[in-house]
């Protein structure tokens, strides 16, 4: 049980700076997900929290105490590595009990704790096996088990599910979330998969190139992305972006793309001709009379939904429709957007214009 404060944290490898002054406040018991494309510095940040990587600048606080100089072994933090990092020469039970043995916990107590964690994770029959005798999913669960026997102040997860197949990934996602609801321990979870972030997090930290782009609750990021990067990163399929400008020509403001497609906007505090990027999520487009006339290029029915890839002039737009709709490639339809769902970003700064 702990809160973690990350204050102006900077990480440099020699001349190369990879984290540029990151600030995150993590409340006690919160499930925080660090998400961003590969190479953005998520693992580095996590390893600094664990103490495995020295902090170049800034302060790291756990429960109000600066831990910059505290060794990993004294931070009382559990971590699950992407590679699982199991001890190859120890059995499953020994792997899970190692931290307790180091702490000097009596043997019967270790055994009881390991047994309990093993039953939670369905590892009971594997306790005498060595890591090399386990499948990927089983190794992953051992790594989890090693973390939960400890009852640490904070759990750190570095892409723990990325080596699993899709089905197992979904199952483990649910298990980790249940685990959090039961233990209520602070979790900091790193992933490059925005679906994992959206489904698991209380709070998401979106990172890019060593900067924090936005911090917020999952739906908050979905509804109000603060810039083009977050807007495109969060949500699947990803948001449509069209370049153009805001025009009013005396009447109401509207968006006109560089290729002449016209889309509605809410009133915006910008002058006529301001260059913008217009964003709308595929699931916020409906078919209807009126709206933007488009030509259908490809239709992808998935059963529950129908995704339509279409073009208006040279602008590519796709729509995700809830119903089965009898359109075919080459058809002409109209895409309707509610201006409430339109996101408008400044072309220069890529920041949201509200």
């Amino acid at each position: 049980m702990a809160e973690v404060k990350i204050k102006d944290i900077v990480k440099r490898y020699g001349e190369l700076q990879v984290i540029h002054g990151v600030n995150v406040d993590i409340r006690d018991g919160e499930f925080v997900v660090l998400v961003g494309p590969s190479g953005c510095g998520k693992s580095t940040l996590l390893r600094m929290i664990a103490g495995l990587e020295p902090i170049s600048d800034g302060e790291m606080l756990i429960d109000g105490k600066v831990v910059n100089k505290v060794l990993p072994k004294d931070r009382d933090i559990a971590m699950v590595f992407q590679s699982y990092a199991l001890y190859p020469h120890k059995t499953v039970a020994e792997n899970m009990g190692f931290s307790l043995k180091i702490k000097g916990v009596p043997k019967p107590e270790i055994e009881a704790k390991v047994k309990q964690a093993a039953s939670v994770l369905d590892l009971g029959k594997l306790l005498d096996r060595y890591p090399r005798q386990l499948s990927g999913g089983q190794r992953q669960r051992v790594a989890m088990g090693r973390a939960i026997v400890r009852d640490p102040r904070v759990f750190l997860f570095d892409e723990p599910l990325s080596n699993l197949d899709a089905k197992l990934r979904v199952a483990m996602r649910v298990e980790i979330k249940e685990l959090h609801q039961r233990l209520k321990t602070t979790i900091i979870y790193v992933t490059h998969d925005q679906i994992e972030a959206m489904t698991m997090a209380d709070k998401i930290v979106v990172m890019k190139d060593g900067y924090v782009e936005q911090i917020g609750a999952p739906l908050d990021l979905y509804d109000n992305p603060s810039n083009v990067f977050v807007a495109g990163f969060i949500g699947s399929p990803s948001m449509n972006f069209i370049k153009g400008s805001i025009r009013s020509d005396g009447g109401a403001q509207r968006f006109v793309s560089d290729h002449g497609s016209v889309l509605p906007v809410r009133p915006l505090p910008v002058s006529d001709g301001h260059p913008v990027i217009y964003g709308v999520r595929p699931e916020h487009i409906t078919l209807g009379p009126g709206g933007l006339p488009v030509r259908v290029a490809v239709v992808e029915p998935t059963g529950a939904e129908t995704q339509i890839f279409a073009r208006s002039n040279e602008d590519a737009i796709d729509a995700m429709l809830r119903d089965r709709i009898a359109v075919r490639a080459g058809d002409h339809v109209n895409f309707v957007v509610d201006p409430v769902n339109a996101h408008v970003f400044d072309q220069q700064t890529t920041k949201r214009i509200s």
Binding site: A78, L86, Y87, K90, F98, Q133
Partner: protein
């Protein structure tokens, strides 16, 4: 079929050399060990005497003493080499000023022939000209004379062996250490282990196969040390450093008692095998068996 024959043909030179220089001499020695044969004795003929040579061994005080010294020598040398070699290997995994230079210098003893090593150490330890007695006297007031002090002579042979062979241990253990995965060590830190606990619970078990292999190699080598010690002390003073190899040499060359010398060789080979087997059974086999049982479960 064709490829099979090609395979044998390609192996033929190796097998031939192995046969001529390894297997044939071995069986010849085995054959000799059951005979009495001293070409310069009153009866120079080869006489079959069954296991008499081996019986003679059991009562041969000189042989038993030399065997005991050899075991002591091998024990102290190999244990020190493993410990020092491990520490040097750990040091070489870190960066420090002059590391490349140190690594080169440190490996040099390996390429020096044993006979040369023996000569150099003899020069260095000869009283009144050697550098070692000089400084021992200057700094500690200790008079080193390996020509008369049995214990000192024994210790110097051990130190010489350490000097000569530690680099081999360093290199093999360094190779083992750098090929270890990094994550378990970070995980151990997270799990709360300190340096010593990491060494004991993680590093040591993980490089255990390399350590055991090195122990086997060094042990077999140390048990048949001859030339260096022969050059350094000639087996003396008295018989203080007359290790088994030297003992055999004395029997076979100055005394030309070929039959008995062969018997000693065979016994030493046998004892070496037994020791390695005991080490294997004690240290390697239980692990292998345990993981096999688990795999079947």
């Amino acid at each position: 079929m064709g490829s099979n024959r090609t395979g044998w043909l390609m192996l033929a030179p190796t097998l031939l050399i192995l046969g001529v220089f390894g297997i044939v001499p071995f069986f010849y020695v085995l054959y000799l060990s059951f005979h009495q044969w001293n070409p310069f004795a009153a009866n120079p003929n080869m006489i079959f005497i069954g296991a008499n040579n081996f019986r003679r061994l059991v009562f041969d005080g000189e042989f038993l003493t030399s065997l005991w010294f050899t075991l002591k020598f091998a024990f102290f040398a190999v244990v020190s080499e493993i410990i020092i070699g491990y520490m040097l290997a750990q040091m070489l995994t870190r960066d420090f000023y002059g590391k490349g230079f140190f690594r080169t210098i440190h490996t040099l003893p390996l390429i020096v022939a044993p006979i040369v090593v023996g000569s150099v150490w003899r020069l260095m330890t000869t009283p009144s000209i050697g550098i070692i007695p000089y400084y021992l006297n200057k700094w500690f007031g200790y008079q080193l004379n390996i020509g008369s002090d049995a214990t000192a002579a024994f210790i110097i042979t051990v130190i010489m062996d350490i000097w000569h062979w530690t680099p081999l241990v360093t290199l093999t253990l360094l190779a083992a250490i750098v090929s270890l995965p990094k994550d378990p060590f970070e995980q151990a830190q997270i799990d709360g282990a300190n340096r010593w606990q990491i060494f004991w619970h993680i590093t040591l078990p993980m490089i255990r196969p390399a350590i055991l292999a090195t122990v086997f190699i060094r042990l077999m080598d140390a048990l048949r040390t001859v030339d260096e010690v022969w050059m350094l002390t000639g087996g003396g003073p008295g018989a203080a450093t007359r290790f088994v190899g030297l003992h055999i040499w004395k029997i076979v060359f100055p005394k030309t008692d070929y039959g008995y010398g062969s018997a000693i060789s065979i016994i030493v080979l046998y004892l070496t095998l037994v020791m390695c087997w005991l080490l294997y059974v004690g240290l390697v086999a239980p692990r292998v068996r345990r993981s096999k049982v688990n795999a079947d479960a």
